[in-house]
């Protein structure tokens, strides 16, 4: 076999979780190979082992038939493997060339000085191969995300990379920028570089990839030729059996609970947002990364300051100054980044649950831990915490169970309006479906729910109505019967009419 890269039985276990089980497949020289699977399928973990960030528990990599062990990221780099991360790892104030040579500068004067001129020359040569329009001497922060990605790829070429892995490279690109990236990727493949391409966007994957390996729950489901396989079959492989035919249930009541009018942020680009949420309604918020979805719910939760507009609950206008004021108005936020904004890692699940409601659990200034315990027993059972150990530090639980604990937190606080920001990010398929059912149950009880999600199937599965955000504003409000992935995407990226309009504007400025 003349595989460029072979995964041979890669297994990775974390305490209590088997993240990867016996992953084996091959990537040919010059092949664009898609790595497919839902969030939590193990793609990111696999890339982490490939780049030397995490060590596999067992299994081997072969590069051009030679066994390769990556104990550190440096080893993977020397073996010709480069990673293009979703979050670009660049130093904003340094120039393009400085970023490309970061960590292994070209030296002069016996290693004392950095030879910036030589660096810029070599950077320009590498950039010329894929996109000659980028000037290596400008600070990287002056470039758009799409251009910065090209710089990362050029940097990989400087390293003589034979394999370039790209994790969701197009999540924040416009369609035109994607076309440019696709050209670059095809050019690289023509040079014999193998590409591992991770994306949730099936149309892109089918446009540019030759073959694809589908993962689910840490296992390889199969490797397929994308030129001869139908998209529906690949999706079926990705989601497996259970999630396919879950019906949406609606519990929308008549009365409007939340009435938001002309809301603008004091700290972000969210402007003039108006919408309502009824009792028992699940409102989905969709849009591209950076469209203002998270920023919108952070305002509603009192985390980000409001510059203008009003929020009324059951007809009474709120004055939100901080999260405390939102919580006392019955609003609870399940933040996007659980580790950073959700949990107190060293404290028990029950304390994490009780944190916003300690006043309720106290009597004459003393916290009644017995009362917390019995409430935790009841609520954490309801959200199906596993393992059911309410005194155990929350950091020892899986992401899905941490999420359940935060849901229980707002149930304990008696919140009637729940804001879920990416409720299933990084959560395995089983827990995901549990959280869907929980959200439905809460809606059935009459709670008003807002769900922000990047996963369109999730938005469509859960929502009674969807707001699509674009550039900090509401681009569209779609009713249940209008919901489709195509409709949401069209509004999220802006339709054809708008594009020609802005193109004309750009021309007018030139």
């Amino acid at each position: 076999m003349n595989a460029r890269l072979r995964f041979d039985g890669i297994t990775k276990t974390f305490p209590g979780v088997k993240a990867l089980t016996n992953v084996s497949f091959e990537v040919a020289p010059g092949e664009i190979h898609a790595l497919l699977g839902e969030n939590g399928a193990g793609k990111s973990t696999l890339l982490r082992t490939l780049s030397g960030v995490a060590k596999p528990t067992s299994g081997e990599f072969y590069v051009d038939g030679v066994i390769a062990a990556f104990k550190r990221p440096e080893h993977a780099r020397l073996a010709g493997i480069a990673m293009i991360h979703q979050e670009l790892q660049q130093v904003p104030n340094l120039t393009v060339a400085q970023n490309m040579f970061l960590g292994h500068q070209i030296k002069s004067a016996g290693g004392m000085l950095v030879n910036r001129r030589e660096q810029e020359k070599r950077a320009a040569e590498a950039l010329a191969m894929i996109d000659p329009t980028i000037d290596p001497s400008v600070p990287i922060k002056t470039l758009k995300v799409a251009q910065r990605q090209i710089v990362e790829i050029a940097r990989a070429l400087l390293d003589k990379a034979k394999i370039i892995a790209m994790d969701e490279p197009t999540s924040s690109l416009t369609p035109a920028e994607f076309e440019n990236l696709a050209k670059v990727i095809e050019r690289l493949a023509g040079l014999g570089v193998s590409i591992i391409y991770v994306s949730h966007k099936m149309d892109e994957v089918f446009r540019i990839c030759h073959r694809g390996t589908v993962m689910r729950d840490g296992n390889v489901v199969g490797t397929v030729d994308l030129k001869t396989t139908a998209e529906a079959d690949v999706i079926a492989m990705m989601v497996g059996r259970e999630l396919q035919h879950e019906e949406h249930n609606s519990f929308v009541k008549e009365d409007v609970r939340v009435d938001v009018r002309g809301l603008s942020s004091a700290v972000t680009h969210v402007r003039d947002v108006s919408f309502t949420v009824r009792r028992g309604e699940v409102l989905g918020i969709a849009g591209l990364v950076g469209s203002g979805r998270t920023e919108l719910v952070r305002m509603l939760a009192g985390v980000d300051a409001i510059a203008d507009g009003t929020i009324a609950i059951d007809g009474a206008t709120l004055k939100l100054t901080d999260p405390r004021s939102a919580i006392s108005a019955g609003i609870g936020l399940l933040p996007e980044e659980r580790k950073r904004e959700g949990i107190i890692p060293g404290r028990s699940v029950s304390v994490n649950m009780a944190l916003p409601s300690l006043g309720k659990f106290s009597k004459s200034g003393i916290v009644r831990h017995g009362a917390i315990k019995s409430r935790a027993n009841e609520l954490l059972k309801r959200v199906n915490l596993r393992p059911f150990q309410i005194d155990r530090p929350i950091r020892l639980f899986s992401g899905g169970n941490q999420q359940k604990a935060i849901i229980a937190r707002w149930l304990a606080a008696g919140s009637e309006i729940l804001l879920f920001d990416e409720p299933t990010r990084g959560i395995d398929v089983g827990a995901k479906s549990e959280i869907y059912h929980l959200i439905e149950n809460l809606a059935a009880e009459g709670k008003s729910i807002i769900v922000v999600s990047s996963e369109l199937p999730e938005v469509i599965r859960l929502s009674d109505r969807v707001i699509v955000m674009r550039n900090g504003r509401i681009a569209a409000q779609l009713e249940r019967q209008e919901l489709s992935e195509q409709a949401i995407v069209a509004h999220a990226v802006g339709d054809a009419g708008l594009k020609t309009h802005s193109a004309k504007q750009e021309q007018a400025h030139v």
């Binding site: 985390v303 901080d322 999260p323 919580i327 933040p335 959700g342 107190i344 916003p356 916290v367 831990h369």
Partner: protein, 324 residues
């Protein structure tokens, strides 16, 4: 057929539930040190010397309890020594000027709390780093004490005041009783009140605490105010013992207090710390000094031993935590 169910776990509100594995480790450390000195120094474990050790540890324990609360909240208070000095010279001046003892005590404790309040406001509202804030007030407060007294000690503190802090009840020094009461109060604050939970939460993850509605500023300010109060109380004990107040009093107290808290299991990253551990940590340091002094070891070597004890304690902590 009898219905056998597993018994419900006992209520955790028994006072012993808060004696953690880490506290047991600190206690074992203390027992080892006492055992070593018992073998080397005749009379080390006599009742009188043990009470001596407690008395000698009481001021550091008092300061370290406040330090522990600040460290748990994710901060640090380097200004405790100068805070104590300000409080000491103010209290002594009022006493010498003939003010009643309760007035002088309230004023001294009040100025300590005010010093803490300034630290807390600079940290919580101005948003400066706790290390930098209290490094700044370390100099500022010391300067105020020196300026106020012109650099001279305040002499002639009346006996009524001295006997209050330096007397004893049934052979137990008042300072030990005071600190024992303070420790109990600190334990209740940390374990039983919302503010205690807030301290642990803010130190554990400030951003998550904010999103969860914890009053961040109030929590931090409370920690610094308590620290200032306890620094002032430590100063009272010392003034009672010496009968005079020096404006340079309390030099390097912050380091002993941080050492006691760290030996007792407080993490300088915040979110972790123990009242019982800190008390044991202060007694470990006190016992070391007492034993080495009785052995006529030079002060230089005492300093060396203190440094080594801190490093060894931290290494043991690190290793056992890695395994647990």
């Amino acid at each position: 057929m009898s219905d056998i169910t597993t018994s419900q776990p006992a209520r955790s509100s028994s006072p012993f539930s808060s004696f953690s594995v880490r506290d047991a480790g600190t206690l074992i450390g203390l027992i080892l040190i006492v055992a070593v000195f018992a073998m080397l120094v005749p009379g080390f474990v006599s009742e009188r010397n043990l009470i001596n050790i407690l008395q000698q540890s009481s001021i550091n324990a008092c300061i370290a309890l406040g330090m522990t609360l600040v460290i748990i909240s994710g901060g640090i208070d380097l200004s405790v020594g100068p805070t104590a000095a300000i409080s000491a010279v103010l209290t002594a001046s009022l006493l010498v000027a003939g003010y009643p003892v309760p007035v002088a005590i309230v004023a001294g404790l009040g100025i300590g709390m005010l010093c803490g309040l300034v630290n807390g406001i600079l940290v919580a509202y101005v948003g400066l780093q706790p290390f930098i804030v209290t490094l700044g007030t370390l100099s500022t407060y010391r300067a105020l004490a020196l300026i106020y007294t012109g650099g001279n000690p305040v002499l002639g503190v009346p006996m009524t005041f001295r006997s209050l802090f330096n007397g004893n009840i049934g052979g137990i020094p008042n300072s030990v009783i005071i600190v024992a009461v303070i420790a109990l109060v600190a334990w209740v604050i940390l374990k039983k009140t919302p503010i205690g939970e807030y301290l642990l939460a803010v130190g554990g993850n400030e951003e998550a605490s904010y999103v969860a509605g914890v009053p961040i500023a109030l929590t931090k300010i409370t920690a610094y105010v308590i620290s200032g109060f306890l620094a002032a109380l430590g100063a009272m004990i010392l003034v009672g013992r010496l009968g005079a107040a020096e404006p340079i009093l309390g030099n390097l107290w912050e380091l002993d207090a941080i050492a006691a808290a760290a030996i007792g299991g407080a993490s300088l990253m915040g979110g972790k710390g123990s009242v019982i551990g800190t008390i044991l940590g202060a007694i470990i340091l006190g016992a070391m000094r007492n034993g080495l002094t009785l052995m006529n070891v030079q002060a230089f070597y005492q300093l060396l031993a203190t440094g080594l004890i801190i490093l060894v304690a931290m290494m043991i902590d690190r290793v056992t935590r890695g395994r647990g």
